[in-house]
C-alpha cells in the first residue's frame, strides 16, 4: 500500500513528512522518496516524524542510509517530532546519538 509522504521545499531546506506506520510494507517506498530528495543536494533535510506512530528496523535502516548519503553530499539531516514509541527503537539500536534528533520543526531550523 502507498505510504503518504508530504514533501515541502523551502529554499535550501526540504521537509519530508511521512504519514502513518513506516514498516517493511512501505520502507522501500520511503527510501525512494528520501533518495530523490537527497539527489537535489539541499543544504538541510528535515524528516518530520510527528505523524509516524510506529517504525520498525526497516524504517530505521532507510534513515541510516539517508544519513550516509547526506554525509557524502554535505547535506545536514535532522529528525524531528519523534513520538515516544519511535524514539524507543532508536534508543534500543543506540542510534539516538548518531542522528541529530530535535523536538520540533522550529528547533530543526525549518
Amino acid at each position: 500500500m502507498a505510504l503518504q509522504v508530504t514533501i515541502e521545499i523551502k529554499g535550501a531546506i526540504v521537509v519530508v513528512g511521512p504519514v502513518g506506520d513506516v514498516d517493511l510494507n512501505c520502507s522501500r517506498e520511503f527510501q525512494g522518496h528520501l533518495k530523490k530528495v537527497l539527489e537535489s543536494r539541499p543544504a538541510r533535510v528535515i524528516v518530520d516524524l510527528a505523524k509516524v506512530p510506529y517504525m520498525d528496523s526497516s524504517g530505521v535502516a532507510t534513515l541510516v542510509e539517508a544519513m550516509q548519503i547526506a554525509r557524502r553530499t554535505s547535506t545536514k539531516l535532522v529528525l524531528c517530532g519523534m513520538q515516544d514509541k519511535v524514539r524507543s527503537i532508536f534508543e534500543i539500536a543506540r542510534l539516538d546519538r548518531v542522528f541529530t534528533i530535535v523536538p520540533d520543526m522550529a528547533t530543526a531550523g525549518a
Binding site: L24, Y54, D56, S57, I92, A93
Partner: protein, 176 residues
C-alpha cells in the same frame, strides 16, 4: 506435556490461547502487531512495553519474510501466544510467551545475530531489538518433515518498575 516448567525459553505443552497464521506478506505485519500489543495490555503489560512487544514480533516476522522466505508472498508463518499464568516458571508472576514458526530453510541458530551496534550501517538490528525487548529469546530448528525455524520469546511481567537500561540479573542466564 507436564504443566510445570521452569525454563523461560521452552514451548508450553498446552494449546496456545491465541494462534495467528499469516501469509508471508508485509501488509499483514500490522495485524500481528496490533493483536500482540492489545493482548499484552490485557495480560497486564503497560502501554510502552506492549508496544515494544509488538516491535519484537514485527522484527521476527520481517526476518522470516526476508531471510527465511526470501520475500515469497505465499508462505505460512505461525504466531502462538500463551499467558505465563498457565505455567509455573520459577519466581515469575505473569507475562507472555510468543512462539513464531515457519517452514523456511533452516539456518544454524548461532548464525542468527545482529551486527555490532558500533558499526553503524543500514540494517542488522532486528535480532538485537528482539533480545533487548524480551526476557528470553531462543532460535531453534524445528524437527519434522516440513523443516523450518522456531523462535521462542518470553517477556515476564515486572512487578516493580526498573530503569530501561537495566536487565533482571535472574534472567540473564536464559538469554541466547
Amino acid at each position: 506435556m507436564s504443566k510445570a516448567r521452569t525454563e523461560l525459553d521452552a514451548v508450553p505443552g498446552s494449546a496456545p490461547h491465541v494462534e495467528l497464521r499469516l501469509l508471508s506478506q508485509p501488509r499483514y505485519l500490522c495485524g500481528a502487531r496490533d493483536a500482540v500489543s492489545s493482548i499484552a495490555r490485557r495480560f497486564g503489560f503497560d502501554e510502552q512495553t506492549s508496544g515494544q512487544l509488538a516491535l519484537a514480533v514485527d522484527e521476527a516476522l520481517c526476518n522470516v519474510i526476508r531471510h527465511g522466505y526470501q520475500e515469497a508472498p505465499d508462505r505460512p508463518i505461525w504466531l502462538r501466544i500463551w499467558p505465563l499464568e498457565d505455567e509455573t516458571v520459577a519466581g515469575v508472576a505473569g507475562g507472555i510467551r510468543i512462539v513464531i514458526e515457519d517452514e523456511a530453510r533452516q539456518v544454524e541458530p548461532d548464525l542468527i545475530k545482529s551486527r555490532d551496534l558500533a558499526d553503524v550501517r543500514p540494517g542488522g538490528l532486528g535480532v538485537h531489538i528482539i533480545k533487548q525487548i524480551m526476557s528470553a529469546a531462543k532460535f531453534e530448528k524445528r524437527s519434522g518433515p516440513q523443516g523450518g525455524m522456531r523462535l521462542i520469546m518470553t517477556k515476564v511481567l515486572d512487578t516493580k518498575p526498573e530503569s530501561a537500561g537495566e536487565r533482571r540479573p535472574a534472567l540473564a542466564k536464559t538469554k541466547g
